[in-house]
């Protein structure tokens, strides 16, 4: 174990800004990408369902 306390862990031996700036932005970027691909799939599915429903109605 490298750390005596939580504050030591967050300080990263004086490199806190650089280490957490790297890990934080990476985590945020991957999370946002995940949310965006999910949103894209949901939007596409909703749009296609609406189109298909309109097609069925016009055929009836």
């Amino acid at each position: 174990m490298n750390w005596g306390s939580a504050s030591e862990f967050f300080a990263m031996g004086g490199y806190g800004l650089y280490v957490w700036g790297s890990f934080g932005v990476t985590a945020a970027a991957l999370l946002i990408e995940t949310l965006l691909v999910r949103k894209r799939f949901g939007d596409t599915r909703r749009l296609l369902r609406r189109e298909l429903a309109a097609d069925r109605e016009s055929q009836d």
């Binding site: 490298n2 031996g13 650089y18 894209r40 596409t44 298909l52």
Partner: protein, 249 residues
């Protein structure tokens, strides 16, 4: 003629790849989550403090894997582009298109974490060094691919144009990789080599490899998820799309 064990061309059709991708992505996502947890644990709690760079070196655990992924994803895009041009398969263009945003993201993260590492160790966020500059060109190649394919309305023509960009741009990948050997750079040499024993502590190496595997699984999961949207968008008028269970009332 004997039957092959797996008919690869079956999955070259979007109609059969769509459900396959839907079945596969959760497994890759689960693997990515487990590997990230293990990798982060080693990165922060097992790997020792570096005797030269103190705790600042821990950026390596995402910087190197992100850089590897940015180069590897570009190679995979070039591979699908070559298949697309050679066999005229529709799915390959969709695979390239699904990979490009994730590759661009990793190229950006490589530069971002590199800047945050360069500042405390070199005293500069950015230098026009061969390694850094060629990685920046890789980011521009990704952005160029995305912009070009988005600007062409006909998806098949967009795929062809994008395929040319990725096949021409792939020469940049070995340039990035060997830049630290070919030129006198500020950037350090390769951290892991196929021919030499690793020069770093075993736990540091394990942390890096686990994070690299985690990013790899993440990329596969996201690309499979994204390609499903792309398939639906492009095949929207096909009968099989209308018959999908998720499209019913």
């Amino acid at each position: 003629m004997s039957q092959p064990l797996i008919n690869w061309f079956k999955f070259a059709s979007p109609a059969s790849f769509y459900p396959l991708a839907g079945k596969l992505w959760p497994w890759f996502a689960a693997l990515a989550a487990a590997l990230t947890a293990a990798g982060l644990w080693i990165s922060f709690f097992v790997a020792p403090t570096d005797f030269q760079q103190g705790e600042g070196y821990r950026i390596i655990f995402i910087h190197v894997p992100a850089s590897w992924m940015s180069m590897f994803i570009y190679c995979v895009m070039a591979f699908w582009s070559a298949i697309g041009i050679g066999f005229n398969t529709r799915l390959s263009g969709m695979m390239s298109a699904a990979l490009a945003p994730t590759g661009a993201l990793f190229a950006f993260l490589s530069l971002w974490t590199g800047a945050l590492w360069g500042k405390p160790m070199w005293g500069a966020w950015w230098v026009w060094d061969a390694r850094l500059t060629s990685e920046l060109i890789l980011l521009f190649l990704y952005l160029g691919y995305i912009a070009l394919t988005a600007a062409i309305d006909d998806p098949r023509r967009a795929d062809k144009a994008g395929a040319i960009v990725s096949l021409v741009g792939v020469v940049n990948v070995p340039i990035i990789y060997f830049s630290v050997k070919w030129w006198n750079t500020l950037h350090q040499g390769a951290s892991v080599s196929m021919t030499k024993a690793p020069t770093m502590a075993a736990t540091m190496l394990w942390g890096m490899l686990l994070m690299a595997l985690a990013f790899w699984m993440y990329s596969i999961a996201v690309a499979l998820y994204r390609v499903r949207s792309i398939i639906l968008e492009r095949e929207r008028h096909a009968t099989w799309v209308a018959e999908l269970p998720e499209m019913q009332r």
